[in-house]
Amino acid sequence: MNPPNSPVTPAASRLPIALRRVLALGSWWVPRSRRQAWRREWEAELFHAAHTDASAEPPRRLLRRALWSHLDALWIFQEELTMTRLLADIRLAFRSLRRSPTFTVVAVLTLALGIGANTAIFSVVNGVLLKPLAYPDSDELLSFNFTAPGIGYPVIPFSDDFFLFVEERQKSLEAIAMYNQDNVNLVGDADPVRVSGARVTPSTFAVLRVPALLGRTLTERDAEVGAEPVAVIAHELWQERLGGDPDVLERTEDMDGVMRRIVGVMPPGFAFPNAETRIWKPYVIDEANLNVGNFSNPGLARMASGMTIDGAVDDAAAMLASLFEERPDDYPAALIEQAQFAPRIDSLKEVVVGDVRQALLVVLGTVGVVLLIACANVANLFLVRAEARQREVTLRAALGAGRGDLARFFLAESMILALAGGTVGVGLAAFGVRAFTTMAPVAIPRISEIGIDARVLGFTLLASLLTGLLFGMIPVLRRQARDLAGSLREGGRSVTTGQGLVSARNVLVVAQVALALVLLVGSGLMIRSFQALRTVDPGFDADGVLAVLVALPGPDYPDAEQRLAFWTEVRDRAAALPGVTAAGILNDIPMGWGRSGGSIEIEDFPSDIESGLLTLAEKKRVGAGGLETLRVELVEGRYLNDDDGAGRFRGAVVSQSLAQHWWPGQSAIGKRLKEDADEDWYEIVGVVGNVHYIDLEDPAEEVLYLPLIAGAEESPNVSANMTVLLRTNGPPSALVGLMRGVVKGVDPRMPIARSETMANLLSNNMARTSFTLVMLGIAAAAAMLLGAIGIYGVISYVVGQRTQEIGVRIALGASRGSVQKMVVRRGMMVCAVGVVVGVLGALAASSALGSLLYEVNPLDPFTYVVVVAALGATALLASWLPALRASGVDPVVALRSD
């Protein structure tokens, strides 16, 4: 006879082997306790199907029936999982968490802070670095330029000549375009406004693969010399400025004095090259009068499918070589060699994102470390709980709960905490992101694309689960290392606590101290960088100065006389405004919105015309009062005045750096130089202090200041775009409204293009550093606080555990002081280990800050000493508080306590 639960009945062995295999496979899903019964039932069923039916089943149908057993098995599996195990664990975990609300709230809030900070920063990283640009197949888009490191130009854009050559010869691109920013004074029924615009080759739209929403984009015909002036406008401009006029395509608008017909409206959100661009005009290349030397239009290209960036670079390099070879007259070999001319091609996204990448990744890493510290803290709390529940857990184990059951029990709790923390964290992150986007430096690109989307939520979920796993596993792993009998014994009355648990918590505190130290060193280094930047003398006095940019449209002001008259009039009226102590004009202000430089010619050091080697400098056009208003220091001679450009005599002013470069140890006054070979000489009348034009972090540029020239027959030079500078005693921004009135008073059709206080421009220049500083500072402060809590928690826990022992010591005559010392020593030892580990970690990690630092050695000893001292002091305080409590122990009470 057959025992009732024998695995296979003799009759069932008559089942075809294939069917039995199928069943064996299916039974894998069935929990072990039910597996045998399950197999028996299915064997019987299949046997029945195979034998009892008069028309025995064809094998294939039988096999299909056998496969149904898998569905059944899977169903049992999921039922088992959801109903009996997981659900029960989760219910149990909920109940036990509800019983200790303080622990739960503290743990959830700690995790929420950590996860929330990570979610917020990740959503920034996602929006700025990860999301593809909002163009179809945007990974094929390239920023296409050149570089000439030999003459100090990391990026040289296209010239018309280059563009035509490349467009004709290239083999690696689907299409190529070039553009330049060309803002527009839009004059209409309403107040005249300055609108961001661009001049683009018609191919731009094909490269980006964005069609017009209404009408059409630009065509090659629009870009022909003498074509009807047209423009494509942005959806936003259509809605806001033109009131969504349905007949927009029949309108003609006055743009910089040119009547342009609107031929198309782009879809909402389309903006190229800047987020503010609203108008696109055709870039007209006059092939009959090519300017070979004017490199001013950045290139944009789409790779042919299957092409790589390296391939495009090779192709471009080959084209350059053949261009220079074919046309040595236009491109002298010596100059090309000096310049080290080469293509510079990057993915468009890289260029859009720019140098914010490193700062963002550092901040993301930082908040990641904060999350780790938060994890360590919660793990610590968890261990305390585990300790308190030792008896409960031991009892469970004694009653037969396996390691897996206990692990699930702890993990269910930690997962619930982590997911709750994640949920609260997403809420915090939503606030954080809003705060971030409003206070972030202007320099962060794609800021409008930052938000919480599915990918961010996925990140948060993953972060929460990993977090839960991380701190939930610690008590589990601890438990694995213990034996039952030991726990039972320890859970009873004993003098000291299990050394194992304490050391686990010590390890956590060491980790916390070490991580906090790494963050503190990072933010310390950023503070030192910021200090160093603050002490850089920009070369001018920014306080109390307002800069107002005005752009005169060419058609309205065709000649220099008119322009000079406009600028002089505006400056004089501005100087008369109440509270204004000085006013001046300059075409290019420091830390400002433009850059003008190029080759100069020095009488004493003639450049080699044959070879075309160039002497380069920043060149600024400055009207009387410009340098005075900025309070640029006068080193020698005098500032420029209105007469310097008016008559035959032409005065110029140079920066100290330029003077010292060419005439070291002697006076530059009286030396002569000029802008271009065929121009009149300027005589140096003054030397002024160095001014940082581009970046405080870079050395001050060599600058040549030239006067505005209108009267002379030859080479009149009065810029169409100039900045009016006003110095005032009051708040400079209060003058913007008055200045608008001044400009309108001189020309009612003229808007103000931009206005900004010099102080703002200066602080924007430091924005990246100060932004990184603030983020790192917040993270480091949080890390330090969490670390202190960790030390405090461990030490006071140990004190609590050793109450009896301390009582005995005091009863035997130990002084309060020696008890305090004993406890503090313990805290400081843990901290010291953490500091050692942390210093090693910081040494390794500080190199990641790399280029974010300014004139600070990543190994700056001062920072390390201060940070270690601060952390040590915090640890001292955190362990001294429990020490106080320990020395207050009443031996009688202590000995009686359980």
């Binding site: 009945t9 009759a11 028996r40 039932e41 019987a44 069923e45 046997f47 059944d72 169903w75």
Partner: protein, 107 residues
């Protein structure tokens, strides 16, 4: 069982089939024509809630007949009530299974 019982139609069919004496898996499948893989989860669920009792066939019988012992399902008392409720809820069911009450749990 006094609590209100609501069943899906396939569940009601399975109950009725068992009530009529079709007492094991494939038989129930064949007679109800329910699609692949539906019947077993229904049986498992009904058994878990106490409407069905699964019983192994006497091994001797199976041995004598030279086949593996089968697992038969039969209605419990609550299962019986459930079937009655189901027949009220789905009146046409009794047309499909006219003898659905035949193998009801004995009083």
């Amino acid at each position: 069982m006094t609590t209100k019982i609501t069943f899906t139609y396939p569940t009601a069919m399975a109950l009725a089939a068992i009530g009529e004496g079709h007492r094991y898996g494939f038989d129930i499948m064949d007679v109800t024509g329910l699609p692949d893989g539906t019947v077993y989860p229904i049986l498992r669920r009904l058994e878990a809630r106490g409407y069905l009792a699964g019983k192994w066939e006497n091994d001797d019988v199976a041995f004598r007949e030279g086949r593996p012992a089968r697992r038969y399902y039969e209605l419990t008392r609550p299962g019986d009530d459930a079937l009655k409720a189901a027949l009220v809820r789905y009146p046409r069911l009794s047309e499909l299974f006219p003898e659905a009450g035949r193998f009801a749990a004995s009083a």
